[in-house]
Amino acid sequence: MQQSLFFNSGGHRLYGLYFGTAEPKDKLGFVLCNGFAGETVVCRSHLSHYARQLQAQGHPVLRFDYRGYGDSEGEFIDATVPAMCDDIHAAAEELKERSGCEKIALLGIRMGATLACIAASQRKDLHKLILWEPLPNLWTYVFAELRQTVAMQTILFRDVRITRNEIVDNIAAGKPSLVDGYDLNCIDDGFPLGAEFIASIKDVDLSPLLATIEVETLIVHLREKEGDASKKLRKFAEGFSAENAAVELTVAVEKTVPWKHGRFYMTHSPKLYETTNSWLERNDA
């Protein structure tokens, strides 16, 4: 059984979908951390489907929306990295209170995985960390994604009237990037970016944080073709301290990766779930 609910974080009412169990297995509950901007919309189904599998295994789960995202209160533009990490902590506390579990596992997808790493380094009750294709460098990712906004200009104006660097400068200065009445300070075709958000992703330095994480960690590279995990993720995995955490980096191959507009329509990721379940079994969750 699942239950839709609202809980508080930093003065905002956040939406959550709670999957309860009568007796939490190993007193362990899972908080699911969604991705960034447009990815959050399509990844929602994939997370909720997996939540039901975890629930069937006996674990309570909470999937939630960050402030300014989806069904939660607030404005997207105000969701900064520290605020989103606060939301993860609020979700973890809500889950503990509702389910009676004492230990928390954080599972994140894409930017949600990166945020889960930051939140993981701040928690004492963390038991496991599952990272589905984390973004090792948030700023590099966001800057690359701004290409879409540039591409949009060629359709709208037959020209690139404002470059990515100019957009970033305008955002930082709190100025709109106005072209023919459109404010192009946005990403993924329309999510507005704010100065505080940009500053907060530029501030993220995962290296010192990863080394402090002391729980079993799974990192999955989700691909559409067989192959090794990317260099980027191999380097990211090396950032964890071998003394502190047992880290496994693996690959799952799906017909379509949720955040890409592929040839197949998928609302769940069976291979990704299989890979994660198998790791959980081997690690006694």
């Binding site: 699942q2 919309v41 399509v42 989806g70 037959r158 329509y265």
Partner: protein, 312 residues
């Protein structure tokens, strides 16, 4: 005020969000609005536009329900893995209609509005239309980027591209580059997207070639091979029974050409009620999914007076 709740539909628990306006005790809202799922975006819509619309409508006193149909977002149920065109085709022929009809019943129980409007974008628009035709209590429809043709496996990409749109796209994307040495360098180094250029080029040329004339002079309408008969049947039955329809299209959307050429040009003169019951707007520069906030606010500005007149 937001309420999160779950309700039953065809054996699945569906997840819904109800936006309640501040009303005096005992006051019944004039109009309630239900949002229908578009693609994989469920109750959020692209760039979170459904919550944005719902907040704006609620501030005007209209309660709104957004929900995820089965298998999408937070709702239970499974959708089999399928090729994209097959999924979209299933949506255009009613995959989520029963869930939408059940959502209407749930909304009526919880809110009891005097009139109900369904709103949807793309797949959500065609779902709204099909559901309204199967539910007698729908008074109005707000349809953004509604498709009149079916997607299906085996349909050539070139058939999906209206020639007018293809010409506009090629001119926008490549016209200026004809004088750019950098662009020619990309072509000769094989870096250009040849398949896109080829497909759009073929579609653009197709529209310039003389079309085969029908052998018979009979007044039979020559429909597109992928024309969605469900669209025509539902639309006709709704407008003749008094339902009002607001059509909104992005000026830069391929589907608006489909609507104009494959529907309006062929059918509109058949029935005077099409015109009297409908209002159609083309938003300057706007794309298929109304992704920019500016376009979303333009859509709201057009919807508000239309809702006011429906409530009178």
């Amino acid at each position: 005020m937001l309420e999160a709740f779950d309700f039953d539909s065809q054996g699945n628990r569906l997840s819904g969000i109800l936006h309640r306006p501040a009303l005096s005790p005992g006051q019944t809202p004039d109009i309630g609005i239900i949002f229908a799922n578009a693609g994989a975006r469920g109750r959020l819509g692209s760039t979170f536009q459904y919550p944005l619309y719902a907040r704006a409508f609620t501030a005007l006193g209209y309660p709104c329900l957004r929900f995820d149909p089965h298998g999408i977002g937070d709702s239970e149920g499974n959708i089999e893995i399928s090729a994209m065109p097959d999924f979209y085709g299933s949506l255009q022929t009613g995959r989520f209609v029963k869930d939408t009809v059940n959502a209407i019943s749930e909304f009526k129980k919880r809110v009891k509005p005097k009139k109900i409007v369904l709103l949807g974008i793309c797949g959500g628009a065609i779902t709204s239309l099909l559901a309204a035709a199967r539910e007698s209590s729908i008074d109005g429809l707000i349809l953004l980027s509604v498709p009149v043709l079916l997607d299906a496996e085996g349909q050539a990409e070139v058939d999906r591209l209206p020639s007018g749109y293809a010409r506009q796209y090629l001119w926008s994307a490549y016209g200026k580059k004809l004088l750019s040495p950098k662009a020619w360098k990309r072509i000769f180094s094989g870096k250009s997207e040849f398949s896109t250029i080829f497909n759009y080029g073929r579609a653009a040329l197709k529209g310039l070639l003389p079309q085969k004339k029908a052998k018979s002079q009979a007044k039979e309408i020559e429909k597109h091979p992928m024309f969605n008969e469900h669209f025509h049947e539902s639309f006709t039955s709704l407008v003749t029974s008094g339902t009002k329809v607001l059509f909104l299209f992005g000026e830069g959307d391929a589907l608006r050409w489909d609507f104009q050429q494959q529907y309006q040009d062929l059918f509109w003169q058949e029935n005077a009620t099409y015109d009297t019951q409908s209002e159609i707007h083309y938003l300057n520069g706007c794309n298929h999914l109304f992704t920019l906030r500016e376009w979303q606010h333009q859509a709201l500005d057009l919807a508000k007076p239309w809702l006011d007149s429906l409530g009178e």
